[in-house]
C-alpha cells in the first residue's frame, strides 16, 4: 500500500523534468557549484526531492540502515545483516554508515518519559553549509537538491565536518593517504537517476518515510498536524532550520527532547561568510591604493631631501 503511494508520488514529480535537471545538475555541478547565494533559486527549493519523517510511525526496525548500506556498497555490519538487529546498541553515523536509527527517550508535552525512534542522515540543506565551505568543490549541490561528494577533488581538510550545523559528515580516520568523507547523498547517482526512490524510503515498512516534492510534503505535514493537533507538536523540523532542509520531521515529542539541535539559526549559514568574502576585493584594492600612495609619497619626499 505504501509502496504504491510512494510510486505515485514519484510519478507526480514529473519524472522527465526531474531526470533532465538531475543529469544536467550533476554534470554541471562538478564544474561549478550552484546555489550558494541565498536568493539564487527559490523554485528549486519548493521542487526539491524531499522526505517527510513521521517520528510517531517509526518502529525502529533499522531496515533503512541495512538498505542504505546495500544500496551504497558500504560494509554491512553482521549485527545488521541477519534479519532484525540482534541488539539495540546505540549506532553512530560513520564515514561508512550514512544513516542510523536510534531509540531516544525524552519528555513529551505532558511531561511523560517516552521513547521514540529517530532516524538520522544528511538533512540535505537547501543552502548547504558544507558546499559553501569546501575549498575545492568536492561537495556540490546538484541542481535539484541533494548534496554530492566527490572524493577525487577532496583534500581532506575536514572543514565540512567542522562547519555542518547538524554534525553529519564523517571522516575516515584510519586511512593513511586517501581517506574519504562520508554522508548520505540521497541515492542520487544510482537510484534517483533511474527514477527509483532512495533506498531507505523504499525499505521502510511503516510509511514513516514519505518521498515527494518539498512543498507538497510541507503541505502534507501541516495538514496532518491540523487534523491531529493532539497527536503532533506544531513544528515541522527542517522547514526553517539552517535555512530549510529537504528532510522534514514531524513528531509528538518536542524535537529538542529527542536530541535534535533546537538552537539553529533560520537564516542560511553560508551568508555569514559570504558577507565577509565578497568585501575582500574592495578592501584589498583600497589597501593597495593607500599603501601605494604612502610609500610613493614618502619615497619622493626622501629623494627631495
Amino acid at each position: 500500500m505504501n509502496k504504491i503511494q510512494h510510486t505515485t508520488e514519484l510519478n507526480a514529480f514529473n519524472r522527465r523534468r526531474f531526470l533532465q535537471g538531475l543529469i544536467g545538475g550533476t554534470g554541471l555541478s562538478v564544474i561549478s557549484p550552484v546555489g550558494l547565494r541565498a536568493d539564487s533559486h527559490t523554485s528549486a527549493h519548493t521542487e526539491a526531492p524531499s522526505v517527510l519523517v513521521d517520528v510517531t510511525r517509526c518502529i525502529g526496525c533499522r531496515q533503512c540502515m541495512r538498505a542504505c548500506k546495500n544500496a551504497n556498497d558500504l560494509p554491512d555490519d553482521t549485527e545488521l545483516s541477519e534479519g532484525f538487529p540482534s541488539s539495540w546498541d546505540h549506532q553512530e553515523l560513520r564515514f561508512d554508515q550514512w544513516t542510523v536509527v536510534n531509540p531516544v527517550t525524552g519528555c513529551n508535552g505532558d511531561g511523560y518519559e517516552v521513547t521514540r525512534n529517530v532516524k538520522m542522515q544528511c538533512m540535505q540543506c537547501l543552502e548547504p553549509t558544507c558546499v559553501s565551505v569546501c575549498p575545492v568543490g568536492a561537495l556540490t549541490k546538484s541542481e535539484l537538491g541533494p548534496i554530492l561528494y566527490n572524493a577525487d577533488r577532496c583534500i581532506g581538510c575536514r572543514y565540512c565536518i567542522m562547519a555542518c550545523p547538524f554534525d553529519i559528515p564523517k571522516f575516515e580516520w584510519n586511512s593513511g593517504m586517501s581517506p574519504v568523507v562520508g554522508k548520505c547523498q540521497f541515492c542520487t547517482r544510482k537510484r534517483l537517476a533511474e527514477g527509483r526512490l532512495p533506498a531507505c524510503v523504499e525499505s521502510c515498512p511503516t510509511g514513516a518515510l514519505k518521498f515527494g516534492r518539498r512543498e507538497a510534503l510541507l503541505f502534507e505535514a501541516h495538514s496532518r498536524i491540523k487534523s491531529h493537533p493532539d497527536r503532533y507538536i506544531n513544528h515541522v523540523y527542517g522547514e526553517r532550520e539552517a535555512g530549510g532542509t529537504a528532510w522534514l520531521y514531524m513528531s509528538d515529542v518536542p524535537f529538542e527532547n529527542l536530541g535534535f539541535k533546537s538552537d539553529l539559526e533560520t537564516a542560511p549559514l553560508p551568508t555569514l561568510t559570504w558577507e565577509v568574502l565578497s568585501k575582500i576585493p574592495i578592501v584589498a584594492a583600497a589597501m593597495a591604493g593607500l599603501f601605494g600612495t604612502v610609500a610613493w609619497s614618502l619615497n619622493r619626499q626622501e629623494k627631495d631631501e
Binding site: G156, Y159, N174, A288, N299
Partner: protein, 409 residues
Amino acid sequence: MSAGWIFIIVCTVSLTWAALCLAYDRRPRLLRPITAITVVGIWASATWTLIRRFTEGLGAVTGMNDAAPWGLWIGTDVFAGVALAAGGFVIAATVHIFRIERFEPILRPTILTAFLGYVLVAIALFIDIGRPLSWWHPLVMWQEHSIMFEVTWCVILYSTVLAIETSPVVLERLGLTKLLKLVKITTIPVVIAGVILSTMHQSSLGSLYLIVPGKLYGLWYSPLLPVFFLISAVAGGMCVIIVESFFSAKILKRSLESSLMVDLGRAASVILYLYLAVKFADLAVRGTWSLMLEPNLQGGLFLLEMLGGVALPAILLSFRRVRMLPRGLLAASLLVMAGVVLNRMNVSWFGMSVNEQLNYIPTWMEIALSLGFITFGTIAFLLAVRYLPVFPKTEGEPSNEPSFWVLTK
C-alpha cells in the same frame, strides 16, 4: 601510553630549563648535551609519528574525531604559528612603506623568522590534511565561496612574498649582485602585496569560524572574529620579534637593539589596549559579557586569556621601567605570545567543546610533532644566522669562538 606523556613532560622541562639558563646567562656544562639529547629524542618521536600518520591515518596518532575534526596541529600549530609570524609584514611595512628606517637592523631576522614560520605552517598543513597528495587542488579547483580557499591562496602567495623578501640574504652570500638588484627594485610592490595578503589571511583564519555560530562559545564567537585575529596577530608578532632578538643576542653574543625593542614593546602595549577595548565593546553590544563570570571552563579560560595574556602585559609594557629592563620586556612579551596561543586554542578547541566535556584530548604524539616543529624552526634560524648575512655586521662584536648553541656541529 603514559611513557609517551612522561617523555613529553621531560622534553618540555628540559627545553624550558635551557631557555631559562640562556635568559639568566648561566651556562652549565651539561646544558649543551642535555639539549642535544632532548632535540634528538623529539625528532625521533616526531619521525615515528609521521610514519604512522602516513601509513595508519590521522586516527592512529591523533586524538581527533568526528566531533573535533581540527586538533592541535591546526588549532595551535597553524593558527598560532601564522599569528606569531605576523611580525614579518609589520616590520616590512614599517621600514619600506612608512619609511621608519630605524627598524632596518631587525628587518632581516624578522623576515627570516616569518619565512621559516610559514614553511613550517605549510608542512603542518601537508601533514594534517587527510589527502596530502591533493594539496594542490585549491590552486586549480576554485571554489571562491570558501574562506578555506581564500586562506590557501593567501598563504601560498604570502609564502612566495616572504621567499622573495628573504632572498637578498642568500643572494648576497652567493654574490649574485645582478639578481639582488632586480629583487631590490621590486621591494616596495612586493612588500605592499605582502601586507595585503597578510591582512587578508590573518583575519580570514578568524573568519573560518564565522560559519559556526551555534558551536563556538559566545565569549569567542563574534562577527568581529576576523578583526580580533588580525589585531592579536599584530601584537603577538611584535612580541615574537622581542623574544627572538633577546635570545639571538644571548646566543650570538651580540648587543640587543634595545631602543628598537623598547619601541616595539610600547607599540604592542597600545595594540593590546585597542584589542581589549574592541573585545569588551563587542561583548557589551552582543550582551554576552556575563558569560565570563560563569563558573565554567570556558569562562575561566577567557578570563585567563584576557587578564594574563592581554591586560597584564599591556599594563606591564606601558611602564617605561619594565620596558627598559630586558628581562621585564621578555616576560611581558612571552605573556603576549602565550595569550595569542591560548586564544587560538580557546577558539579552536575549548570554545568548540560543550562545557567541561572536551571534544578532544591531544595525544603525546601530536605534541611531539609540535615540539619537533618548534625545535626545527629554532635550529634552522640559528643555522641561517650563522652562515648568512642576517644581522648587520657593524653591530656587536663578532665572536671567533664557535657559537655555543649550534648543536649540529
